[in-house]
């Protein structure tokens, strides 16, 4: 990690200038001001039709200035760190102090971090920015070869490698300076399969906060296996008859259920505004005994991990549901102040262009004690087993959610039978959470390229052990 002075030099500002900018932001009576400097480099290479013939790189650089008056926000940014441009941004953000009412309180209370020392959940052994793009061309070629070697029905392969590194410097009106360097490397592929005149498409991805060292033959092999496995079943798959039925969700990517159906409703901004279906449920039982649901920034190399959030609060592990009881929302400084609790390190933003809001990181459920996934399947007379999800959506107020099922199977008399595809599962978040009647002991974190789109994009991840939900609506013929 760089030193504070190295970050200051990177952005061409001094500590004295940071103080001046914050003073300018506060001059109209604001009670909190913070600065967020960002220098992001993004690059990508794409293999298509057998050649790595397209690629590019992109730079995003600037600084956001936020001024708070109570819970009200003034925000402006500059795409340069020229002091005159930053002073203009600070002046524009300061307008909120005269436009807003008094509000409930201030986010500018001193916060004593529970985390001591400087933590690094994604040490970058080899910086992407120091590597020539040509070095990664063989990675994509190997991936295509590995995919084609596994399945002779592969017709087209698109493979892409992208990497991004962001240097971040933050300063606030408490005089706190925080910095971070955040890498992320992602390998993705989309494959078209043709068998007997029929076409199927599948995709898979792996993404980590790590440096170049993450690119390995084993990662390539893992991705090739992920995108080709289950294709025999996919070609056989049909839509099942729809209706309400028990659903066994496989460990791993099914964790998107937690993210969409429960996690968003635990984000404190929705609760502060009274919009969440969990707004009045703090301290109440929301799930069966033994169920723990966590949002975690501290998993080494995980796509959702952050050393510090975008308000300078240390990344941490937050138990939202403990033994079935709702214990904590996910807070940024504003909501923490509103609720009179410590921030949980969930104040995140897409870039310097956005003010931070409560966002998830890696959301998962801890393993349970109800045996294996096979045990859960064996307990169902007639239902459905799903192992690949995508396209989840939730309505926060109502708690209604939908997930598109890419693949799964019917369960008949405790056994997996007909493969199914192209269906949706719909339900209600609190009800589905309460309806989880068995949790296996096989927690798996899914390392795909999950990106949450609540107002702004945020890198996240998810995980879950295999679970049995006693009743959900399955769409079908």
């Amino acid at each position: 990690m760089k030193t504070k002075d190295e970050y200051l030099n990177l952005f061409g500002v001094s500590s004295a200038q940071l103080r001046t900018l914050v003073a300018e932001g506060m001059k109209n009576g604001g009670d909190w001001c913070d600065l967020f400097f960002e220098d992001t480099s993004y690059s990508e290479l794409v293999l298509r039709d057998g050649e790595v013939s397209s690629g590019g790189s992109h730079i995003d650089y600037g600084c956001g200035v936020r001024v708070l008056k109570g819970e009200k926000t003034g925000y402006a940014y500059a795409e340069s760190t020229d002091i005159a441009a930053l002073m203009t941004a600070a002046r524009n953000a300061s307008v909120i102090a005269s436009a807003a009412g008094s509000g409930h309180g201030s986010a500018g209370k001193p916060y004593i971090s529970k985390v001591s020392g400087r933590q690094d959940f994604y040490p970058m052994k080899e910086d992407w920015r120091q590597s020539e793009a040509s070095r990664f061309v063989p990675v994509l070629q190997k991936l295509e070869a590995a995919i084609r070697a596994k399945d002779s029905s592969v017709h087209k392969v698109i493979a892409a490698l992208s990497w991004q590194v962001s240097d971040i410097l933050m300063y606030n009106s408490l005089g706190e300076t925080t910095a971070d360097t955040r890498p992320v490397g992602s390998l993705t592929t989309t494959v078209i399969f043709i068998r007997g005149g029929r076409t199927e498409m599948n995709n898979a991805s792996k993404s980590f906060r790590a440096g170049v060292e993450i690119m390995s033959d084993s990662l390539v092999e893992e991705l090739a296996e992920a995108v080709t496995s289950g294709m025999d079943e996919r070609f056989e798959a049909r839509r099942p008859k729809g209706g309400k039925m028990p659903v066994v969700m496989a460990a791993g990517a099914s964790g998107i259920l937690l993210h969409e159906a429960m996690g968003h409703a635990f984000e404190a901004d929705f609760n502060r505004k009274g919009q969440s279906i969990f707004s009045d449920k703090m301290g109440c039982r929301v799930a069966a005994e033994g169920i723990n649901i966590i949002d975690d920034a501290t998993i080494p190399g995980n796509r959702g991990s952050i050393n510090v959030d975008d308000e300078g609060i240390a990344g941490q592990k937050t138990y939202m549901v403990e033994d079935g009881i709702l214990r904590s929302y996910l807070h940024d400084r504003i909501s923490a102040s509103f609720y009179g609790v410590a921030p949980t390190g969930n104040g995140r933003r897409e870039s310097f262009r956005y003010n931070p809001i409560p966002r998830m990181r890696c959301t998962y459920m801890e393993s349970g004690r109800d045996g294996s996934c096979e045990d859960l399947i064996a307990s169902v007379r007639k239902g459905i087993f799903v192992d690949q999800f995508s396209n989840g959506e939730v309505k926060i107020g109502e708690g209604d959610f939908t997930f598109y099922v890419k693949s799964g199977r019917l369960i008949e008399n405790g056994r997996l039978t007909m493969p199914v595809k192209d269906i949706n599962i719909v339900g209600n978040g609190p009800k589905a959470l309460a309806d989880i009647v068995a949790v296996a002991s096989d927690l798996k974190i899914d390392n795909s390229t999950w990106t949450c789109g609540k107002e702004q994009s945020a890198l996240v991840s998810c995980g879950i052990p295999s679970v049995l939900v006693k009743s959900l609506t399955v769409g079908g013929e």
Partner: protein
């Protein structure tokens, strides 16, 4: 507005690219100035102002191709960035299909960016006080013994956007537009503690046509109408899809007509050009050059001139969307890279959703989609929906937790009518649509 210096700098990027070793290049400057005032429960919650500028570059180097962008726009940074970009492009494989468009195809009439009349000079004179007044003046307060408003969020925004595209073959095109938008989302709670949300949105490129006063009442009506949902038995129903969300069933068609999907064998409309795939009478057009209308544009990202034309006429597929790269790759004539402002004209019914429900008499009105997917290779789809059961042409109760499934081509084959109520503020002008025999499950 765009400064002369910004235009000059964009043109200089081409010279920098040629000097660094590129044989051809395109540079595209995007500039967006936006102001936002957000409200929460009739108080200002956030004010924000921003100015974004970036230059994107398409570089053609020794038969190779790369795409790059940066918002560090001082000359020294740009020159260093472009030099490195040319070097990166040289590391890629050759691709002879990559090229700039034929200069004869690029727009010659997009000179000052104002030709479509959607860049309102009134935008320059909107004051911060007016923005706050727009945001606060359109909040609503209402209470009913059967429900109360839990929260009300509003967001007013206005912006001025410019896009200037030049290439080394002499293409030079400019697009400018303004936008005034207001959005409200309401959450209400009924007397049993159940929450329902409703949202509405209005936008216009011209201040004189901007009507934010419609937004609050429409959002409230949407939330209140959802109280007391009931389940419907699974089965086949007539489906009326509201104009607010009907683009959901148009998008898979537009995606399937893209030459990239065709080339990748990932389209259910492969080999459909010139064929009667959809019912006689059904037209789908692209009308990007209608003056004064939001989201129009006289050129695509390559600078190729757009035109008002048929995509599907009388059920027959008229065109694929083919950019220069895909034209060279597939050996077919280029067209435009995508539909810019697709439009479905009325079919069998000059009316809106009430008239279509009357026509159908019995069915389910879909007012929102909540997740789901369409398989691009087969056209099979499954979408979760929210809406209302209607009988005798009138809404009887809301429905939730229901899904529709089917195949996009088969669905359009069952079209009963298309209304005349497409919302002008949207990029896709899709009216309320009615279909027969749609599979609902729940």
């Amino acid at each position: 507005m765009l400064e002369k210096e910004e235009l000059k700098l964009t043109r200089e990027c081409l010279q920098m690219a040629l000097e660094a070793g590129a044989s051809k290049a395109r540079a595209s400057l995007s500039k967006n100035e936006m102001s936002i005032v957000a409200t929460l429960d009739s108080e200002v919650d956030k004010v924000s102002g921003c100015l974004d500028r970036s230059i994107s570059l398409n570089l053609y180097v020794d038969g190779r191709y790369g795409t790059f962008s940066t918002n560090k726009l001082d000359r020294e940074s740009l020159r260093a960035f472009i030099g490195k970009a040319v070097g990166t492009t040289r590391m890629l494989a050759e691709d002879p299909a990559r090229d700039l468009p034929d200069p004869a195809r690029t727009a010659k009439d997009a000179k000052d960016g104002k030709e479509l009349g959607i860049c309102d000079p009134a935008w320059e004179s909107v004051t911060p006080e007016q923005r706050i007044a727009f945001a606060l003046g359109n909040a609503i307060s209402a209470y009913d013994k059967k429900w109360k408003i839990v929260s009300q969020e509003g967001e007013y925004s206005d912006s001025q956007y410019h896009n200037y595209v030049v290439d080394t073959q002499g293409t030079e095109v400019l697009h400018s537009e303004t936008s005034f938008e207001f959005f409200t989302e309401l959450t209400i709670e009924d007397n049993r503690g159940h929450k329902y949300s409703g949202g509405w949105w209005e936008a216009s490129p011209l201040l004189k046509d901007f009507h934010p006063e419609k937004v609050g009442p429409a959002a409230l009506e949407e939330a209140v109408m959802q109280i007391g949902p009931k389940r419907c038995p699974s089965g086949k129903y007539r489906a009326v899809i509201d104009s607010e969300v009907s683009q959901k069933v148009l998008n898979p068609i537009l995606n399937a007509l893209n030459a990239f999907s065709i080339q990748q064998k990932n389209s259910f409309l492969t080999d459909s050009l010139g064929k009667q795939i959809f019912p006689a009478g059904l037209d789908i057009m692209d009308i990007p050059r209608t003056p004064g209308e939001a989201c129009g544009k006289m050129f695509d990202s390559e600078g190729v001139a757009s035109s008002n034309h048929y995509i599907i006429k009388d059920g027959v597929v008229q065109e694929y969307f083919v950019n220069t790269y895909m034209a060279n790759k597939l050996g077919i004539p280029p067209t435009i890279e995508d539909a810019i402002r697709p439009y479905i004209p009325p079919l069998n019914m000059p009316g809106g959703r009430n008239e279509l429900m009357q026509l159908c008499q019995d069915g389910i009105l879909i007012t929102d989609f909540c997740g789901g997917n369409s398989n691009p290779a087969t056209g099979d789809f499954s979408y979760a929906i929210q809406g209302y059961r209607f009988k005798d042409g009138k809404i009887v109760h809301p429905v939730r937790e229901m899904l529709i499934t089917g195949n996009i081509v088969k669905l359009w084959g069952q079209i009963i009518a298309a209304g005349n109520d497409a919302r002008r503020c949207r990029a896709k002008l899709t009216p309320t649509l009615a279909f027969d025999n749609v599979d609902f499950s729940g």
